[in-house]
């Protein structure tokens, strides 16, 4: 049995390439392809300025994804803490740059792209939690003090992101962290109590909110009340989606996006553009493809022989699904406008990069599902 593990951990490159999860790669290509088409349409039938750039980034990201996938998962296991603390460090750097530059700053200019450390941090938090829970037993998970360190792992980046201030991203990190706790076996009661606590906190939070924040909440609850002001985005997005109908307005024919009634059509509201032009059919197709990705993620996690891989693969899959859910729920007017991109589709470098890194790690888990990862 030991020999088998040894054998697998020193698989030949050809063997690894053969065992790359090509189905998942095909899904990623399909979803990204939809993204390129949508960006091409957003520019009124032009590759510039969005689609062409996005394709280049995707190409670079894809190479990175394969490179990460081919590196044995145990190396990644060892690199977890350096990655996590590098991410934290970058968040601090951004914060300081923001202070110096007099204003909120969320990115670092690397010359060829603008890096948003918070995006990278989402992956790093999942990695760190996976590593921590890797060694945990069922009993460990029942002990409250055992969960102090995971809480710190989550809250450190969350508080830094909150300082930016970026409420949406911090909430997403918390949700991703919570789902990690859940899959690692934390008590159901923890979530029930947590949920009740959040509900109880709502009236208190309301009391301490600024008027403009209250206004935002009210606008979310009834966007039509202010169709030209705060509710403008969501009202126009719903009009665009609804007007698409079952069959859509046709490629390049979405009037809401083409005539600029739809704001942020190349980033946060790109799903709207797609569903306006491709209708219910196109929208459901995209949802279905995303659903298959989640399924692949769960499948990889199940097949993985080591806890680190299980947690990492499922965590990354859940993280990915959170993006998808929040973005699509937002453009449909189910949740407030928080400013979250649709992964693989929205125009944006860091998001694309972080997503592909995540898939690289997921695939590494898949290729090296039998790797011996020390406790």
């Amino acid at each position: 049995m030991n020999s088998a593990i040894t054998l697998h951990s020193e698989q030949s490159l050809l063997y690894k390439i053969k065992h790359i999860n090509w189905g998942l790669v095909a899904l990623i290509l399909a979803i990204s392809g939809i993204g390129f088409a949508a960006l091409y349409s957003a520019a009124g039938g032009n590759f510039s300025p969005w689609a062409s750039k996005q394709m280049v980034r995707f190409g670079v990201g894809l190479v990175g994804m394969f490179a990460i996938a081919l590196i044995d998962i145990k190396w990644w296991f060892r690199l977890v803490w350096p990655c996590y603390f590098l991410g934290l460090f970058l968040l601090v750097v951004v914060e300081i740059m923001g202070q110096v530059g007099m204003g909120a700053q969320r990115w670092i200019n690397l010359g060829f792209m603008q890096l948003q450390p918070s995006e990278v941090m989402k992956v790093a938090v999942v990695m760190a939690l996976a590593r921590y829970f890797h060694a945990a037993t069922v009993e460990d998970m029942r002990r409250i003090y055992f969960l102090i360190i995971p809480a710190l792992i989550i809250m450190a980046p969350v508080s830094l992101v909150l300082l930016q201030p970026d409420l949406g991203t911090s909430l997403m990190i918390i949700m991703a962290g919570a789902s990690m706790l859940f899959m690692a076996g934390a008590s159901i009661w923890l979530f029930i109590i947590g949920g009740v606590a959040v509900l109880a906190a709502i009236p208190i939070a309301w009391h301490f909110m600024h008027d403009y924040q209250k206004q935002r909440v009210m606008t979310f609850l009834d966007p039509e009340s202010d169709p030209l002001g705060a509710g403008y985005h969501i009202t126009q997005s719903k009009i665009a989606l609804g007007s698409g109908g079952i069959e859509g307005r046709g490629f390049l024919e979405g009037t809401q996006s083409r005539l600029n009634f739809l704001p942020e059509k190349q980033t946060d509201f790109i799903f709207t553009l797609w569903a306006e032009e491709q209708g219910l059919m196109g929208g459901l197709l995209l949802l279905f493809l995303f659903g298959l990705v989640f399924f692949y993620g769960a499948l990889i996690a199940m097949r993985c022989r080591h806890h680190f891989g299980k947690y990492l693969a499922l965590g990354l899959s859940v993280n990915f699904s959170l993006y998808v859910f929040i973005n699509i729920a937002m453009v449909m007017g189910l949740i407030p406008v928080v400013g979250a991109p649709l992964p693989l589709i929205s125009y944006g470098g860091t998001s694309m990069l972080a997503t592909l890194i995540g898939f690289g790690l997921m695939m590494s888990c898949s290729i090296h599902h039998d790797s011996k990862v020390s406790r």
Binding site: G245, T255, N260, L280, F294, F325
Partner: protein
């Protein structure tokens, strides 16, 4: 063993939790899919409509207002291109800010800005409002270039009404102006920015006909409101062209002749058809000022002017007809058989009836006068005597037969009825019984009697055209109210031609006999010579002290002077043209009105409009 079992339990726990996570994910996907289906299928129609509402603007296309031309086709009211700048409040996020930015590019007064802001409050947010019109092409170009910095603003090229004859046609053609709140009816075209409707004159009377029908264009607009393309266009139908019987040049001439006096009006008409060749009132105003927003001070001045420049006195001015009424009194007597044409009276300058004394205008009197002589020298006594025999009711009946005392159904709504009193009228008016002295006053066209210049012209036409009851008109075809159709004649009046001949003889003598009151204004050429009757209408009673002191009327203040009247016809044989002239406070008919009538009748015969152009 226990390690392996624990590991298995752990595995099971993870699988369980993973399945739960997968279930939640599937559930959320289901919710999203359902929401998408709800939006796109159940609500699809609604959002499709909203989307179209977003992108499609219905643009109304203003119809071109019908032209007004004279009998020769000479334009009296036309449309000239007018560049305007408009603003849609909805598209200007901050309306005032947009207008202030516009101020950096073109000249706009504070008043204009306040006007737009006021209008914006009253109308729907998507309705364009005219900010300024009559822009120079350079201004339009400047605005166009700077449109990105001027949200909500746009320029267009509309039409502006232009009156080439200016003051000369101010009253008869009238003018157009902005639509008042209470004028906005069902016609959506009225809500177009800067749309103008007729306010007076022909412009008002035939406003509906000239207005035309709006067109519409569906345009696709982007979020900034800029038109991307036109989807569907339905052109507008321009309004109907109105042809008038007027002779534009002669109208201008008439206006200039009237302008000699401080306040006067005149009508020149075809004696047989009733077609109007000129209808003017002086002083006038420049109607072109009215189409582009009249300056307040000009408006105030027009209102304050005692000569009432805004009133069309030719049809709305009501004056005592004075001696021009004497033909009616004479005819009433002749028709009634109370007098015959050979009757003579002795005028001593004074006529006594009961205890009352009535004066002839000439101190010392005219001596023995017959009918035509009485008309020629305008002897009052002759008619005093005659009237007491005939009575007011017969006189009133004759007056009405000749078109006095009621509206004539002329096209212009400003027309007023005048007044012909009789016994019943007085009873109804103030419940008092008619006194014989009032008949005496009425016999020389004073007292309650009132007539408009238009009525006096019609009266004259009926006197000289062989006894046909002509009515005045300016438009032909289906628009006409009083048109004389080709080949038709106006109904013959029940009047003895010999009596008319006698009266006409008196009118001939009044101008062409050396003792006639208008002898000084005669035309010596027998081909174009004219006949007529002077009139001098008392504005206030001549007091005994004035009479004794021999104060001349022209020495009084303008407002107290007599009105001067003249009705005339030409040529003498077979009259074609009639005219009526009233000079307000012109002292005497022979002094001011007759010279004007001479010039008008001379000119109209020279131009002879009845022989050309529009029939009639």
């Amino acid at each position: 063993m226990s390690f392996i079992k624990k590991e298995k339990d752990h595995e099971k726990l993870f699988t369980r939790r993973a399945v739960i996570i997968g279930g939640v994910q599937a559930g959320i996907l289901g919710v999203l899919g359902t929401r998408l289906a709800w939006l796109q299928v159940s609500q699809g129609e609604k959002y499709r409509t909203l989307s179209d509402k977003n992108r499609i603007n219905i643009k109304m296309l203003a119809p071109s207002r019908g032209q007004i031309v004279d009998r020769f086709g000479v334009p009296l009211a036309i449309n000239s291109q007018n560049f305007r700048v408009l603003v849609v409040p909805e598209q200007a996020r901050d309306l005032e800010q947009s207008l202030r930015s516009l101020q950096n590019h073109i000249e706009i007064s504070e008043d204009q800005i306040q006007d737009v802001l006021k209008t914006a409050k009253k109308t729907a947010k998507f309705v364009p409002i005219e900010v300024k019109d009559d822009l120079e092409w350079e201004d339009v170009a400047t605005i166009e270039v700077n449109l990105p910095d001027l949200p909500g603003l746009s320029t267009d090229s509309g039409e502006r009404r232009l009156y080439p004859f200016g003051e000369a046609t101010a009253h008869v053609i009238g003018y157009v102006g902005a639509v008042n709140k209470n004028e906005i009816g069902d016609d959506p075209v009225l809500s177009l920015p800067g749309f103008k409707i007729g306010k007076t004159g022909v412009e008002k009377r035939f406003d509906l006909e000239m207005r035309g029908k709006k067109g519409s264009a569906q345009v696709e607009v982007n979020v900034a409101g800029r038109e991307v393309r036109e989807l569907k266009t339905q052109g507008s139908h321009s309004g109907r062209r109105i042809e008038l019987t007027l002779d534009g040049e002669f109208q201008r001439f008439t206006q200039s002749v009237l302008a000699r006096e401080r306040s006067a009006s005149a009508v020149v008409m075809d004696a047989h058809t009733g077609a109007i060749y000129a209808l003017a009132s002086s002083p006038a105003f420049d109607p072109n000022l009215f189409t582009s927003g009249l300056p307040a001070d000009v408006w105030e001045e027009l209102l304050a002017n005692p000569a009432h420049p805004l009133t069309n006195k030719a049809i709305a001015g009501q004056y005592p007809p004075a001696s021009t009424f004497k033909m009616i009194t004479a005819l009433a007597g002749l028709q009634d058989g109370k007098i015959n044409s050979k009757r003579v009276s002795h005028c001593t300058g004074r006529y006594e009836y009961g205890k009352d004394k009535f004066h002839c205008w000439k101190r010392g009197g005219h001596g023995w006068v017959g009918l035509s002589q009485a008309l020629a020298v305008s002897c009052d006594t002759y008619f005093y005597e005659l009237a007491t025999e005939v009575g007011i009711d017969k006189i009133a009946e004759t007056a009405r037969m000749f078109g006095l005392g009621d509206k004539l159904g002329f096209e212009l709504k400003e027309e007023r009825p005048g007044l012909v009193p009789d016994k019943n009228w007085k009873l109804g008016h103030n419940g008092k019984v008619w006194r014989p002295g009032e008949t005496i006053v009425a016999s020389i066209g004073q007292g309650y009697l009132l007539a408009t210049p238009l009525q006096l012209a019609v009266m004259t036409a009926r006197l000289v055209n062989g006894g046909y009851a002509v009515k005045p008109w300016m438009t032909d075809g289906e628009l006409a109210t009083n048109e004389l159709r080709e080949g038709d004649k106006w109904p013959k009046m029940d009047i003895n031609p010999a009596h008319l001949k006698k009266v006409k003889q008196g009118m001939d003598r009044a101008v062409n006999h050396e003792k006639g009151t208008a002898y000084g204004s005669r035309i010596e050429n027998p081909d174009t010579a004219f006949g007529g009757k002077t009139g001098t209408g008392q504005v206030q009673r001549i007091t005994m002290s004035q009479r004794l002191a021999g104060i001349k009327n022209e020495d009084l203040a303008w407002k107290q002077r007599h009105h001067a009247l003249f009705v005339g016809y030409a040529p003498l044989k077979n009259p074609q043209y009639v005219c009526a002239v009233v000079v307000e406070h012109g002292v005497g008919g022979s002094k001011t009105a007759a010279p004007i009538a001479r010039d008008l009748l001379s000119e109209v015969q020279k131009r002879n409009p009845r022989s050309q152009g529009l029939k009639g």
